[in-house]
């Protein structure tokens, strides 16, 4: 950029008089920082303008001097002259006072709101934990009921199956009313025992079911009497003609101990 040309374009004079467009003004101010000659020229133009302005000097009414100097106290913040400008000043300080009051109020309100919402949140958190636990409890209960139902349903389907042959077993000792039922599927050989009434066996002993096939006693598995368990699956059996339950050492025996025959069909 040719600085001399720029200066002689009249841009300095226009800047000094405030006539430049915003973009030209920005450009001028940037150049002002770069070129000291430009700043010097601006200073000269301003001096010229100021001398020119001086030519229009006009003394204000003498009464204005005291009026205006009276405001100086206000501007300094210590006067008490109630005038138009005092009101202007006051409205400024008033604005600040309002601003301060408003921000203080906002602070109080927001502090209260924070505390309020925090306690609400805390409360909600507690309720959430309670509900969460209740939900888990319900799910557990549901699972229990569901399992129980599934078992019952399976048992019922077994009883209703036309291929399942049900055999009633009664106690050998007629002084007791021990009894059980055997459910045997003649197609698949699946066998279940439903204990209706049997005493707890002694320590080291277990009940064992036997199937009588072709005159021999075949092992059909050991079981534990838990009446509420419903039907218990035991070993598959082919072509049984009769059933018997004996007490055997835990784990069962190869051959039944006939003196401990508890039930038979």
């Amino acid at each position: 950029m040719d600085l001399k040309e720029y200066i002689s374009s009249g841009v300095v004079e226009l800047y000094a008089m405030g006539g430049l467009q915003p973009s030209e003004k920005r450009e001028f101010e940037q150049r002002l920082l770069l070129y000291p000659e430009l700043a010097e020229e601006l200073e000269k133009v301003r001096e010229g303008l100021e001398v020119f302005t001086g030519a229009y000097s006009k003394n204000p009414r003498p009464a204005l001097r005291e009026m205006i100097l009276g405001k100086s106290n206000t501007a300094g913040g210590k006067g008490d002259d109630p005038g138009k400008l005092l009101q202007v000043e006051r409205s400024h300080t008033l604005t600040y006072k309002y601003l301060i009051a408003a921000s203080l109020a906002a602070l109080v309100i927001s502090t209260f709101a924070s505390w309020f919402f925090y306690s609400r949140w805390d409360e909600a958190e507690d309720r959430y934990v309670t509900l969460f636990n209740e939900k888990n409890q319900l799910a557990q209960n549901y699972n229990l009921v569901k399992n129980s139902f599934d078992k019952t349903y399976a048992d019922m389907m077994l009883m209703r199956d036309e291929n399942v042959i049900i055999t009633q077993l009664n106690s050998t000792d007629t002084t007791h009313h021990y009894q059980a039922r055997v459910y045997w599927n003649r197609n698949t050989g699946e066998t279940y025992i439903d204990i209706l009434d049997l005493p707890e066996p002694d320590q080291g002993l277990q009940y064992q079911l036997w199937a009588v096939t072709d005159g021999t006693m075949t092992d059909a598995g050991v079981f534990t009497p838990v009446p509420e368990m419903g039907m218990q699956r035991v070993k598959n059996v082919q072509q049984p003609s009769a059933w018997a339950v004996t007490l055997e050492p835990t784990g069962g025996s190869q051959v039944p101990t006939m003196e401990h025959l508890m039930l038979h069909s």
């Binding site: 008089m17 405030g18 020119f52 030519a55």
Partner: protein, 186 residues
């Protein structure tokens, strides 16, 4: 400004910053006529000009801490406060409606300064210079400086090309500067 004026300016700034009553009196006694002059030149109505003068002084006193000597002289800063206050007033809706009748009158070119100003022997030579300035140059300063027109508004108002506004503004102020320096040296 001469060197001694600069030193006075530094002292004056300090007094104003200290909110010293004497500083305010010096300010008023030295500058109220110039300030009132430019404000009146823009507003042309005495009562409103007086209000703006008051407003400007209060603004100078309360904003003196914002004045940055690196950006220019105190006088330049103060003068721009007065000029801007006056221009803001003139552009305000309230003023435009109330001063509608005077408006056409106000659009007429700068009055002869010697008719409107009170007697001040220091200004005699300067007034002659301004009085003798060609009307085309006077008009350009009037539009830009006292009306606050932008370059393009001035071009439109005076019906001259945009480039001419710049060159004429430059010539006008060059002429003033030359004449003023002749007064000083002569």
């Amino acid at each position: 400004m001469t060197k001694s004026d600069r030193i006075q300016e530094v002292e004056l700034i300090q007094l104003l910053r200290d909110r010293n009553r004497r500083g305010m009196e010096i300010l008023y006694d030295n500058y109220s006529a110039v300030f009132y002059g430019i404000i009146f030149q823009i507003i042309k109505i005495e009562a409103i000009s007086e209000d703006i003068l008051q407003e400007s002084f209060v603004k100078i006193w309360s904003n003196i801490s914002q004045y940055d000597p690196a950006k220019g002289r105190l006088f330049t800063w103060m003068l721009s406060i007065c000029r801007n206050n006056a221009l803001d007033k003139v552009r305000s809706r309230e003023f435009l409606t109330s001063a509608q009748n005077q408006n056409s009158e106000r659009l007429v070119s700068t009055e002869n300064p010697s008719l409107t100003t009170s007697f001040n022997p220091d200004l005699i030579g300067i007034r002659d210079v301004v009085d003798n300035l060609d009307p085309e140059y006077k008009q350009i300063i009037e539009c830009l400086y006292f009306r606050g027109f932008t370059q393009s508004e001035t071009a439109l108002k005076l019906n001259i090309p945009l480039g001419t506004v710049k060159t004429r503004a430059r010539t006008a102020i060059m002429k003033l500067r030359q004449s003023f320096s002749q007064i000083k040296t002569g």
